[in-house]
């Protein structure tokens, strides 16, 4: 999406964007003090998991311009790796690292053949990957196949523990995303998005850069899947490997604002909250809404909600500014 590239929306309203996240983090971390009900905490937990995967997708899809429909693969593999290792007595942090490593391995296996394809062809190949992995996982007997896999709980369940795990992972994801955005590696990714041939003329190795971004995104997504699995304690292929999960992971950053730092976060929050509200009563309606939203965003506001905010912010600011002070 070339439109997202014009002007870096993430860098513009600097002050608000620097303070707001810290404030938000503080509020979230102090959450137990508010004595929220388990349902609210669950909603926040799920939203944080969505935010993490949304940021992860954006590293490859937003910065690098490589749209993947197949992130459910990493999410699901992470969930299964965490569940399997927890049941074998691995402690929960180590099991998340394992989940991330399995996802990284998968990202290499998938990336090596599919990154030979450029742009849209990569995107379509990932649809195939996602379908193939789900089919295989439905038939693997070690994990219970289609009937799913259960974590055997040895300790009492503390909801807040899981909440903090998700919060910590989301913070890590934001930090990684910021670091990538400002590093040389991030610039190489953006160069590939804008013009792969030109980037490669300037000494960027597109294949290796994409593979690395894929691995980084996979690690975060796999860990997020692991966090989810530890919370849910029961996972099944039609859930964590569903094509719908891959679609959701792609929709969130695009709705929020592709290629920015905070766009995916906003997209994840919006998706998480609306999804939870709508899925119970109208399971189909929410995808209908998101499909229409995707069409509208592609046609009218490629920079998503962040772009929309940015635009309205500027309209607002123009009203105050002395005429002629700015071109």
């Amino acid at each position: 999406m070339k439109g997202a590239a014009k002007g870096d929306a993430s860098a513009r309203p600097r002050f608000a964007f620097a303070v707001a996240p810290l404030l938000l983090l503080g509020v979230l971390a102090a959450l137990p003090a508010f004595g929220l009900g388990p349902n609210t905490v669950r909603l926040l937990f799920v939203t944080l998991v969505w935010v993490t995967v949304s940021i992860a997708w954006n590293i490859l899809g937003g910065f690098g311009g490589q749209v993947s429909f197949g992130f459910a693969v990493f999410y699901g593999l992470g969930a299964y790796a965490a569940a399997l290792s927890v049941n074998r007595g691995v402690n929960s942090i180590l099991s998340l690292l394992l989940a991330a490593s399995v996802a990284v391995l998968a990202s290499m296996l998938i990336g090596l053949p599919t990154f030979r394809l450029k742009g849209p062809y990569f995107a379509i190949a990932t649809i195939g990957v996602s379908e193939a992995v789900r089919v295989v996982m439905t038939n693997v007997s070690m994990t219970g196949g289609a009937s799913g896999y259960r974590i055997i709980e040895t300790r009492p369940f503390h909801q807040l523990e899981h909440f903090y795990a998700a919060l910590a992972l989301a913070v890590v994801a934001v930090a990684v995303s910021m670091q990538v955005r400002r590093s040389k590696f991030g610039l190489a990714l953006i160069a590939i998005r804008e013009d792969e041939e030109a980037a490669s003329d300037l000494g960027v190795n597109p294949f290796r850069t994409k593979l690395l971004a894929h691995a980084l995104a996979a690690a975060l997504t796999g860990a997020a899947g692991g966090v989810y699995a530890q919370y849910a304690a029961f996972i099944h292929p039609q859930g964590v490997f569903a094509f719908g999960i891959g679609v959701a992971i792609l929709l969130m950053p695009i709705i929020g604002g592709i290629g920015t730092i905070w766009g995916p976060v906003i997209g994840g929050v919006v998706y998480g909250l609306i999804h939870e509200e709508l899925i119970a009563s109208f399971p189909q309606l929410h995808l209908l809404i998101y499909g229409s939203l995707l069409i509208l965003i592609v046609l009218f506001e490629p920079a998503g909600i962040v772009g929309l905010l940015d635009r309205s912010f500027r309209v607002f600011a123009r009203g105050w500014r002395v005429i002629g002070s700015h071109p």
């Binding site: 999406m1 070339k2 439109g3 311009g65 749209v67 429909f69 053949p113 599919t114 030979r116 394809l117 450029k118 742009g119 849209p120 062809y121 995107a123 379509i124 190949a125 649809i127 195939g128 990957v129 379908e131 193939a132 089919v135 295989v136 439905t138 038939n139 094509f243 679609v247 695009i254 189909q284 309606l285 995808l287 209908l288 998101y290 499909g291 229409s292 939203l293 995707l294 069409i295 592609v298 046609l299 490629p302």
Partner: protein
């Protein structure tokens, strides 16, 4: 495994290939003229299936006639989709992510409209001839597959005629070979693209109807067929109609014969494996084909 079984499987594969060709040819036309990968293809396959189903269930219109009616209906739908959505995105000589996401959004909308209208239960079109079998010696043909195969071939023949005997067809072929040269000799790109999009969608709708005569369907119907269509056009080299035929035969034969060695529930993974294989055989992948073409341009 004796010779008769082998022959039966081979015939089944060929019958399947006919349907696959009709299914993926719409995607090829749209790709060839506009360089857009139509992800909404799956949605139109699904709509085509329900179109034929509704005609049969409500008005007792024979599914074959329904497929015939699907051509004009989906042609108009396709032209309007192009008018409302597709013409607004920037054109390019390579597929853009914008077009991919736009059509993906359209697929989501169509699929979930399908859920809203028809619910998520599976439907099937059962006609008196659905279960008939034609027996010639030791070889048996399911009648409905023969009929579908015939209809698929007829529609491909019709397309071939249009492409080679009409001004529109010549314009389409010109744009597929070299869009700049086509423009220079006076092809109206926008109008040709609109009609081509209509034809592509018409084929998607009709193919959906044909598939519905063989398989049961739900609003989720098109997904696996979208991937198969893509594998077919990649195998066939993306922009040639002969390639579509070759790709269809390859995919159908591989899928059919894999049943001998693989459990049937792994079948959906075959298309993807074929895609990866095609990439290894063509190390530069699809990009290599483009670059060659662009160097000539």
């Amino acid at each position: 495994m004796n010779a008769v079984d082998l022959l039966n499987l081979l015939i089944a594969a060929l019958l399947q290939a006919g349907v696959y060709a009709a299914m993926s040819v719409g995607m090829t036309i749209i790709y060839g003229v506009m360089k857009i990968v139509n992800l909404a293809h799956a949605g139109f396959l699904m709509l085509g299936a329900y179109f034929v189903y509704e005609l049969y269930a409500r008005f007792h219109i024979d599914p074959l006639l329904g497929v015939l009616l699907a051509f004009p209906a989906f042609f108009l739908i396709g032209m309007s989709v192009h008018w409302v959505l597709v013409r607004r995105i920037p054109t390019s000589d390579q597929p853009t992510l914008t077009s991919l996401l736009l059509l993906f959004g359209l697929w989501l909308v169509l699929q979930n409209l399908g859920y809203v209208v028809w619910g998520n239960s599976d439907r099937a079109i059962l006609t008196p001839r659905t279960l008939d079998v034609l027996q010639i010696g030791p070889i048996s043909f399911p009648t409905v597959r023969l009929v579908v195969f015939g209809a698929a071939l007829a529609s491909l023949g019709g397309l071939e005629f249009v492409l080679h005997k009409t001004w529109f067809g010549r314009a389409v072929r010109a744009l597929m070979q070299n869009s700049d040269a086509g423009r220079i000799v006076g092809v109206n790109v926008e109008r040709t693209a609109r009609v081509a999009f209509g034809v592509g969608i018409a084929f998607a709708g009709a193919a959906g109807g044909l598939l519905a005569m063989i398989y049961s369907f739900s609003p989720d119907f098109g997904g696996p067929f979208l991937l198969r269509s893509f594998v077919i056009i990649v195998l066939g080299g993306l922009e040639s109609f002969a390639g579509v035929a070759v790709g269809s035969v390859i995919l159908a034969v591989v899928e059919t014969f894999c049943i001998l060695v693989l459990p049937a529930n792994y079948q959906p993974a075959i298309a993807f494996s074929l895609l990866v294989l095609a990439l290894i055989v063509l190390p530069e992948g699809v990009a290599g084909l483009w670059n060659k073409r662009r160097r000539w341009a």
